[in-house]
């Protein structure tokens, strides 16, 4: 494992003195764990600000918030470097930050500015940051799944020591592209990790009403790959599963399907009138908010103390504020350039 550095093994030594320490904490350095916490804050705050600007009528179009799902995005990306690819979804802000994107360029894209990751052409549903290996959010449910398999095919051909991680939702697992893609990834033993963020609903349709299997991970049987269901609100559970699956992929053993059980506490998108979920259900999941849970573990296992946590939170807040400022003061694209960037030549 590239990601287990010396520092990690030091942390590891300390931790090993404690009972019940989740495995994941042994894999990462203190800085990596602080980085993970910071990313979770950044995601949460990015989306709160996005929501706010929406409500104040400052932004346009639609948007899909992943508030409540941060552990899945950050946990999965823990063992990844910029050489690894991800494909993301319409609910992609979290994946994008987890993979290392700058919130400033993300806000700029969100506000349709020329300085945004997509020069204002893409918006929330298409934010991508190729420099960190994020091949982009996708407006088409299931649209990114074969693309991730293609990225894995490239990795294999180019003999790179890398992996492609494919995020998608529980709803997407009923698309034909899911089936076709997992089948190909398996027969060709490609270095890809399929991550189904099962937040219980595809828009308004619960998994019980849409999906003919209890655990989506059980569908891995059809593709002769390991399928594992984890608590998607537990950073450490998600990160452990990811570390294993990434190692498996990189060693040439082929793909894994990870199902992260989680929940979006906000509505599906702007148009959601919340007719399909009960307040009780939402509250119950809100009580399992991944961020306090992660903080709790870090405190419990003596990895960070309150002061350190506060420092991380403040650093995230400063980054969000300057990111917002950058975005807001950025110029709009020139309408005369509307038909640029269609072709390379």
């Amino acid at each position: 494992m590239d990601t287990i550095s010396n520092e990690a093994s030091n942390l590891n030594n300390n931790l090993s003195r404690m009972a019940n320490v989740p495995e994941a904490y042994r894999y990462f350095t203190l800085d990596q764990l602080k980085g993970a916490l910071k990313k979770m804050y950044l995601i949460r705050r990015f989306e709160e600000e996005a929501e706010d600007s929406y409500q104040r009528g400052l932004t346009y179009g639609t948007m899909h918030l992943s508030i409540g799902q941060e552990a899945s995005a950050v946990g999965i990306c823990m063992p990844l470097s910029n050489a690894d690819y991800i494909t993301s979804t319409h609910r992609g802000h979290g994946h994008c930050i987890a993979k290392g994107a700058e919130p400033g360029k993300m806000f700029a894209e969100f506000f349709g500015k020329e300085t945004g990751y997509c020069r204002g052409r893409g918006g929330s549903m298409h934010i991508a940051d190729v420099t960190t290996g994020n091949l982009g959010a996708n407006g088409i449910v299931g649209g990114g799944i074969p693309i991730a398999v293609g990225a894995a095919l490239s990795i294999k051909h180019q003999k790179k020591n890398a992996v492609a991680v494919c995020f998608f939702g529980d709803g997407a697992n009923n698309e034909g592209s899911f089936h076709e893609s997992l089948n190909m990834a398996s027969i060709w033993k490609l270095p890809v990790v399929f991550v189904c963020e099962n937040n219980q609903y595809g828009m308004s349709t619960s998994i019980e009403r849409s999906t003919s299997v209890k655990n989506i991970a059980d569908r891995a049987v059809s593709y002769s790959m390991p399928g594992i269901t984890v608590d998607g609100n537990s950073f450490s559970d998600v990160a452990s599963a990811s570390v294993e699956a990434v190692a498996r992929a990189k060693s040439g053993e082929g793909p894994t399907l990870i199902e992260c059980l989680t929940y979006r506490t906000r509505g599906h998108s702007r148009s959601d009138r919340n007719r399909y979920r009960t307040k009780e259900e939402i509250d119950a999941w809100a009580a399992r908010d991944p961020i306090p849970r992660f903080e709790g573990e870090l405190l419990n296992f003596g990895i960070l103390n309150e002061t350190m946590i506060a420092e991380v939170r403040e650093a995230a807040e400063r980054e969000i504020q300057s990111a917002l400022e950058f975005a807001k003061s950025s110029p709009d694209p020139d309408p005369l350039q509307v038909a640029n960037f269609v072709y390379s030549s």
Binding site: G120, M203, S204, P333, P335
Partner: protein, 333 residues
């Protein structure tokens, strides 16, 4: 004047009403689509129908456009009258196989022994900031396919009447619904009536130039006509309404009077619906009446961008129509 005669409802309510009427009258009518049940549809068109007719007739499908459309085709083939909603017409790209290879061709391939009375509703168009994968106007693809009928109503009155007419067809009918029209209000009678599939409708008469428009462009063309009136340019506006089969006759008749034709549509200009309008008119005996080339004002040759200013620039706006029509009228061959 009765209450009904002045009653105004929105475009989406008009579609809702047509579906409700059809479901009351005919057990065979069922609705299928993603989140059309308790959610009421992505654009709230199916509304409370699931509560009125139950989940057996208002069926939330999984997110499976190819399979879902195929199920609707199979049900239509065996005696049902499904109305299938795509959340966005962009997602019909996943179901082209069933629409084009199966639904459109089945009757022909089977020598006329079957019919496939499926209706598909496809919200389309830009203007809502939904960007490249949720804003396309792909109507031209479908209008290219024999076996399909393709309609695109632009008023609440027509939306209800044409959907009810589609339900009397025994062939697959695709209804493109421009998103920006959903909230538009207009007079809609209660009860059952139909607006025939096929004929276009002249929304404004004029003698200097004919504008044939589709979807939201009809409203923009009418706005442009008012502005041009101020410049003493008298514009005729034809709402095409049905894209396949196309009512070329009415356009020919109009062009013979105005001698000038402008086609305005939101789809990409190249091979968009205006290409057919232009080619069909030029091919007809209206050709000899033309005092200027037929001009097309269509969408830019790019995907629909997100940023509002870019998005506006990517499809025709009222002032673009004004400018084009003015140039055309001033033009001599």
């Amino acid at each position: 004047m009765t209450d009904s005669a002045i009653r105004e409802i929105s475009f989406s309510q008009a579609i809702y009403e047509a579906m409700a009427l059809a479901m009351e009258a005919d057990e065979r009518v069922i609705l299928m689509g993603e989140d059309i049940g308790v959610y009421g549809g992505a654009f709230q068109v199916t509304g409370d129908l699931v509560h009125r007719f139950g989940p057996e007739r208002v069926i939330d499908t999984p997110i499976s456009e190819l399979g879902g459309a195929g199920v609707a085709v199979g049900a239509a083939l065996t005696g049902m009258r499904p109305i299938f909603e795509f959340q966005f017409s962009d997602f019909a790209t996943l179901a082209m196989e069933q629409i084009v290879n199966q639904a459109a061709k089945m009757r022909y391939m089977l020598g006329g022994e079957v019919s496939v009375p499926v209706i598909m509703r496809l919200p389309c168009g830009s203007g809502s900031g939904a960007a490249a994968q949720h804003s396309q106007s792909l109507e031209a693809w479908f209008a290219h396919v024999p076996g399909l009928k393709v309609i695109e109503p632009t008023t609440p009155y027509d939306a209800k009447g044409m959907l009810l007419a589609a339900l009397e067809q025994n062939d697959p009918v695709l209804i493109f619904e421009h998103k920006l029209l959903y909230k538009m209000k207009g007079h809609v009678p209660e009860g059952h009536y139909t607006v025939p599939i096929g004929p276009s409708e002249t929304r404004r008469q004029g003698k200097d130039v004919t504008i044939v428009a589709t979807a939201i462009m009809v409203a923009r063309a009418l706005e442009a006509a008012v502005i041009l009136e101020g410049e003493n340019i008298d514009v005729e506006v034809i709402d095409l309404r049905t894209l396949r089969p196309m009512d070329t006759e009415s356009i020919i008749a109009s062009v013979k009077r105005t001698s000038r034709l402008l086609c305005v549509y939101e789809g990409v200009k190249t091979l968009g619906i205006g290409a057919e309008i232009s080619a069909a008119i030029v091919e007809s005996d209206a050709f000899g009446f033309l005092d200027a080339p037929v001009i097309r004002l269509g969408g830019q040759e790019c995907p629909i961008p997100y940023s509002p200013g870019l998005e506006r620039a990517s499809v025709p706006q009222v002032d673009d129509i004004v400018r084009c029509a003015r140039d055309l009228v001033r033009r001599k061959i």
